[in-house]
C-alpha cells in the first residue's frame, strides 16, 4: 500500500537526483574554458532531455522489466505499459511510477558524467548519438544486472545507490571516450584553466545536496536506513574533501578550492555503493581513503597521457572502484563483509565492479569506433580554437560590461 511518508521522501529524492544533472552542468561548466561553457552545460542538460524520452519509450522496460536470462529486461513495460499508480515489484510502499521516475534520474545523470571526458571537443551531434547508443547498450543492461533482477544482483553484489551502475560504469566509459576522441588541441602546451570556479563550487554544492536524494533515497523509504545512508554520505564527503586538500597541502603546498570540491565528489562517489550499509565512523575511513585515492588517480593522468578533460576516470572510475571494495570491507548492515568475517563478499564486490568496468570499456569503445566510421566525432580544429559555444550553438556565454 502506498505510504504517504515514504512517498513524500521518494518524491523529494527524485527531485533531488534530477537537480544533480543541472548541478553537474555547472560543476563541469565552470571547469572548462569560457568559450566552451555553454556547450558543456548543454550536454548535461540534454542528457535529461534525451534519456527521459528514451526511458519512457523503452528504457525502463529494458532495465527493470521482467528479467530475460539475467541479462536484460523484457520489452513488456515499453511505453510504461503496466507501470501504474499502485506499488510495483520494487517497492510496496510507493507508486510504481514513482520508482520509475526515481530510476530515470539515475539513468539521466550517468551519461552526463561521461561528458566530462570528452568536453571541449565533441560535436553536439556525436554527443547526441553517443548518449542514445550508450544509454541503450551500456547503461540499461548494467542497470538490469545489478538492480533489475540480473546476474550481478543474484550473485549478491552490494550496490546500495549505484557505485557500480553509475560510477564504475561511467568511469570506464570515460576512459574509452578519452582515448578514442583524442586530446584537446593544445593539451599540455596551452593553459586550460577552469574559467569560473565559483560556478564550479555552486555545482559542487548542488551535487552534494542532490546526492542525499541519490544515496538516502536509495533506501526507497523514509526510515532508519535512509537516515544511516544520509549521515554516512555526509561524513564520507567531508572526510574525502579534507583528505584531498590534505594531499594538496603536502604535495603542492597549497590546498585549493577546486581540490575541496573534487575531494567532496570523490567521497560522494565512494560512499554510494555502501551508504545504507556502512556506519558513520567507517564512513570516515571510506571517505578519507577516497580523497587520497582519487587525488593520486588524477595525478596519474598526467603520466598516462590521455586527456580526460574533467577527470571522470580519476574521480568516478577510481572512486567507484574503491567504493565497491570499501563496501566489501565495511558494510555492517544488510550483509556481512570482510571486517565482519565474510571475505567472500569482497570477491563478489570486486568481480562485479571489474565485470562492469570491462563491459563498459569495451562496449563504449565499440560504439565510438563505429560512430567514428560514420561521422566526425570532433569539431573542426578551427572551431575547437574558436570555442564550441559559437561553432556548435551560435552563442556566447558572457557579455559582461
Amino acid at each position: 500500500m502506498v505510504d504517504s511518508g515514504h512517498t513524500a521522501w521518494m518524491l523529494v529524492s527524485t527531485a533531488l537526483v534530477m537537480l544533480m544533472t543541472p548541478g553537474l552542468a555547472l560543476f563541469y561548466g565552470g571547469m572548462v574554458r569560457s568559450e566552451n561553457v555553454l556547450a558543456t552545460i548543454m550536454q548535461s542538460f540534454s542528457c535529461l532531455g534525451l534519456v527521459t524520452v528514451l526511458w519512457v519509450l523503452f528504457g525502463y522496460s529494458l532495465a527493470f522489466g521482467p528479467d530475460v536470462m539475467g541479462v536484460v529486461g523484457s520489452w513488456q513495460w515499453a511505453g510504461l505499459s503496466g507501470v501504474g499508480m499502485d506499488p510495483g515489484p520494487y517497492s510496496d510502499k510507493i507508486p510504481h511510477l514513482l520508482f520509475c521516475s526515481f530510476q530515470l534520474m539515475f539513468a539521466a545523470i550517468t551519461p552526463a558524467l561521461i561528458t566530462g571526458a570528452f568536453a571541449e571537443r565533441l560535436t553536439f551531434r556525436s554527443f547526441v548519438v553517443f548518449t542514445l547508443a550508450w544509454t541503450t547498450l551500456v547503461y540499461l543492461p548494467v542497470c538490469h544486472w545489478v538492480w533489475g533482477g540480473g546476474w550481478m544482483g543474484k550473485l549478491g553484489a552490494l550496490d546500495f545507490a549505484g557505485g557500480t551502475v553509475i560510477h564504475v560504469n561511467s568511469g570506464a566509459a570515460a576512459l574509452a571516450a578519452a582515448l578514442i576522441t583524442g586530446k584537446r588541441r593544445g593539451y599540455r602546451t596551452e593553459p586550460m584553466y577552469p574559467h569560473n570556479l565559483p560556478l564550479t563550487m555552486l555545482g559542487a554544492g548542488l551535487l552534494w545536496f542532490g546526492w542525499f536524494g541519490f544515496n538516502a533515497g536509495s533506501a526507497l523509504s523514509a526510515g532508519s536506513q535512509a537516515s544511516l545512508a544520509f549521515l554516512s554520505t555526509q561524513v564520507a564527503t567531508a572526510a574525502a574533501a579534507l583528505a584531498w586538500i590534505g594531499c594538496e597541502r603536502v604535495i603542492r603546498k597549497k590546498p585549493t578550492t577546486l581540490g575541496f570540491a573534487s575531494g567532496a565528489v570523490a567521497g560522494l562517489v565512494a560512499i554510494t555503493p555502501g551508504a545504507g550499509y556502512i556506519d558513520p565512523v567507517s564512513a570516515l575511513a571510506v571517505g578519507a581513503v577516497a580523497g587520497a585515492v582519487c587525488y593520486f588517480a588524477v595525478l596519474m593522468k598526467e603520466r598516462l597521457g590521455y586527456d580526460d578533460s574533467l577527470d571522470v576516470v580519476g574521480i568516478h572510475g577510481a572512486g567507484g572502484l574503491w567504493g565497491a571494495v570499501a563496501t566489501g570491507l565495511f558494510a555492517s548492515y544488510g550483509g556481512t563483509v570482510l571486517f565482519h568475517g565474510n571475505p567472500h563478499q569482497l570477491v563478489v564486490q570486486v568481480t562485479g565492479a571489474l565485470a562492469t568496468a570491462t563491459y563498459s570499456f569495451l562496449a563504449t569503445s565499440l560504439i565510438l569506433l563505429a560512430m567514428k566510421g560514420l561521422m566526425p566525432l570532433r569539431v573542426e580544429e578551427e572551431h575547437e580554437v574558436e570555442g564550441l559555444d559559437r561553432s556548435e550553438h551560435g552563442e556566447s556565454a558572457y557579455w559582461i560590461r
Binding site: P191, Y193, P194, E248, R252, L258, G259, V298, L299, E302
Partner: protein, 112 residues
Amino acid sequence: MKKIEAIIKPFRLDEVKDALQQVGASGMTITEVRGHGRQKGHREIYRGAEYTVDLIPKVKIELVVADNAVEGVVRTIMEAAKTGKIGDGKIFILPVEDAIRIRTGESGPDAL
C-alpha cells in the same frame, strides 16, 4: 602635446588618480592590461597540474597633456605609483599631433 602611458600596479590606481587630479590633470583613460617583464608570475594549481601564470594584471593610464605639463605629470605618477618593488611599471611618452573634443569640436591643447 604628448601622450603619457603609464603601466602601474592595479592597487596604486586610486592613489595615482588622486595625485594627478591634485596637479590638475584630471582627464585620463584607464585600461586593464596584463604585463610581462621582470616581475615573476605566480603558480596556479588545477587539480593535478601546476601552471605558471606569467601575465600579471596591471593598469594602463593614458593621459594626453600639453608639452609643458609632461614633466609634472610624470613626476606625480612616479611618486604615487612607486612601491620600490619589481613590477612597479613603466611610463612611456609619445608624440601627439592633435586632439579634438567631440562635444565641442575644439582642437589642440584646448581640447584636453
